[in-house]
Amino acid sequence: MTSVYWVLFLPLAMALVNRLWGGKLTRAMSGVLSSLAVGLALLFSLYAFSRVADLPLSDQGSRQIFGTLYSWISVGGVNLGFSLLLDPLSALMASLVAGVGLLIHVYSIAYMGGEDEGEFSRYFAYLNFFVFSMLVLVMAGSFLVMFLGWELVGVSSYLLIGFYRGRESAVKAGVKAFLVNRVGDFGFLLGILALLVNYHTLDFPAILGNPGLLAGRGALATVVPLLLFAGAVGKSAQVPLHVWLPDAMEGPTPVSALMHAATMVAAGVFMVLRCHALFQASPAAMATVAWTGVATAFLAASIALVQTDIKRVLAYSTISQLGYMMLGAGVGAYTAAFFHLFTHAFFKSLLFLGAGSVMHAMGGELDMTRMGGLKARMPVTYWTFLAGALCLAGFPLTSGFFSKDEILRQALVSPGGSPWLWLAGTLTAVLTAVYAFRLVFKVFHGETRMEKDAWDHVHESPAAMTLPMVLLAAAALLAGLLGLPESWTRFQPFRDWMAPAFFDLPAGLMPAAQAAAQAVPDWALLLLASAIALGGLAFCWRVFARHSDLPSRLMESPAARGVHALLWNKYYFDEAYQAVFVDGFRGLCRLVWRFVDEGIIANLVDLAGSMAEAAGSTLTLLQTGYVRFYLGAFVLGVVLILAMLAGLI
């Protein structure tokens, strides 16, 4: 447990140092010390990881180290402690958070180099605080501590999103992120209270080890998980509370990378996985999670298809990928969902860092229609970005391929799955492949659409920025090895590691249709997934890069030539039809985005806000300033009280 304290303490201490003595530290000191703090936190969390691995593996739930730092409240026989839990889930997640956090810290030293010292240390203070908050959330051993981390993450993300305080939009985005998250917290806190009243404790081992207690309380078994899920919907940007995430781009780009990878948005998925024992006691709750996930995945992917702002495309893609994770969690594929979270952390932070590198080179430009041809000037950024995009699109043998495929497979064959879930997920995979490659082609390929002098300034980013990208690219490409399909090999390090942390979905629930679906061979699904990714690549190449000479250079790569050869003819013959279909579909997607997202959901959120505002206005109108009016209200109140006490109302 001591190592865990260090994991938490170091980033917090450094955040305070940066905040309080920030003005006195040089930029290099501030940046290096902050990175060092996170680096040491990473070492300690790896040590914690090894400690968990040392524990004997007897049965499920055995690999747990549970400790209470101190007793928070003890009241009426209820003991609420500040407790931490170290198990395969939290150990891996903490290492992931610290690892990605470290890379992003290093990257930030270069990226934020242009800021003056005060701003620089303020940035690192917030960044350290963010990592600390997320680590609290991850290491939490009780719902109470998790809620603490949950809110701290909210506060620190609000500070980071609104970092550029001169920009009104940044401030608004920060506030929006915080408030939308608070809506989710509303459910989360109620869920926690319900658990407290039923279990008389909030410690994870006591509650999650005994889901049967809640299951015996009728509707509570469904209500409580759904309340908890409301928190996850807010934090993980699921429909309909996803509106804050695209706006959260207003923060510095490395922050987006951190937020979209292992921290903040992953918290919701992490929480659902942590509480899966409660969720799986209620089929209705599981179904809600799964369908919310798949709906989010589809909606966000279709929106990403028509965006031209790089970071915005990436933001919607995050929402979509989180939808996949929720889908996995909802069908009982916990390991797969967490594996996707794991691989996504690498490739999505990679993509954001790549986008940041592009921005850095282009003086803040984000519109991909004004880019193109960057491949030549920024080779490292290009190749690493491509690696990330391949993973995102589920290109065969990359990590995203394996993790996404496993979720889709489980959506089909798991007792909690359904063919419809699978179908929707697969359709989303098609969209994903298209928007991922579109991004790559538009930005890096073809003739540049930039102005001459801007183009002359384009340059590769410094090593402090490219090095994290290269490392992440390697991780993103290779992470798949940890979770190859079970039909391929018995080497399953990820699955074996997570096994003690997750309960299986009871098999008895399986409807007949599912049993039939189980007959679908694994290789067929893998083949389909490969086809989707490759098809998407070919299609994008066709649509977005055809008029440039870059495709011919791309053809020199053997893999791309193979893809091209496989799909070329089919799309070539159907070109006219494709154009109509694609245009039509793009129109549809734009429509979805305009009406559903901007028109309805964003407006619903705004509507709630403006209703509150309007109610406030009405109420302040009552505040007339006339004391006789106040006295009249007083009499009215007395009449009301008397009538109620006399039993008349």
């Binding site: 009249g632 009499v635 009215l636 007395v638 009449v639 008397l642 009538a643 006399a646 008349l648």
Partner: protein, 175 residues
């Protein structure tokens, strides 16, 4: 009906009537006179309710001291008839006040009408010998024994009032 009762009911009617007149008369000075009348009616009622000391105090404190304060205030503020409002506004305000007053009265009557008659059974306390004409000594004894604490606190309250009045009335000259 004995004389006391006749007096009681007569002055009860007068008290209510003067109270209503205070509310409805438009002139501040008239309101003050009617208020004095109201207070004196109450003093008579107190006397009828076998509380002669309270009746005397009522005349002295309220009918005398308090009313003098009011009259002084009227003189200082040079109060006269306030201008009429737009008749719609006036009617609206009157209507609302009436509704509130009736609502309050209705509820109080509802509670009292249904429950006050039963009070007789609630507290079978025999009439004490202290009550009646010679109760001044007994009242004084009570003030200094059982009710000593509030009595003392009221002396603090009077100091607070004195300081407060000083602040409100004098400070202006000092600065």
């Amino acid at each position: 009906m004995g004389l006391t009762q006749a007096l009681f009911f007569t002055f009860a009617a007068l008290a209510l009537a003067s109270a209503l007149s205070v509310v409805f008369t438009r002139h501040t000075v008239w309101a003050a006179y009617l208020f004095v009348a109201h207070l004196l009616c109450l003093a008579v009622l107190y006397a009828c309710l076998s509380a002669p000391l309270v009746a005397v105090l009522q005349v002295m404190v309220y009918g005398g001291a308090v009313m003098v304060l009011f009259i002084f205030a009227i003189m200082i503020l040079d109060a006269s008839v306030l201008g009429r409002l737009d008749w719609r506004q006036e009617a609206l305000q009157a209507g609302l006040s009436l509704a509130l007053g009736l609502g309050l009265a209705g509820l109080l009557f509802y509670v009292l009408d249904r429950h006050a008659p039963a009070l007789a059974l609630a507290n079978p306390v025999s009439a004490s010998a202290d009550l009646g004409r010679g109760n001044v000594a007994a009242l004084g004894r009570m003030l200094y024994t059982q009710y000593l604490l509030p009595f003392e606190v009221i002396s603090v309250l009077l100091v607070v009032a004195a300081v407060g009045i000083l602040v409100m009335a004098k400070r202006k000259l000092e600065d």
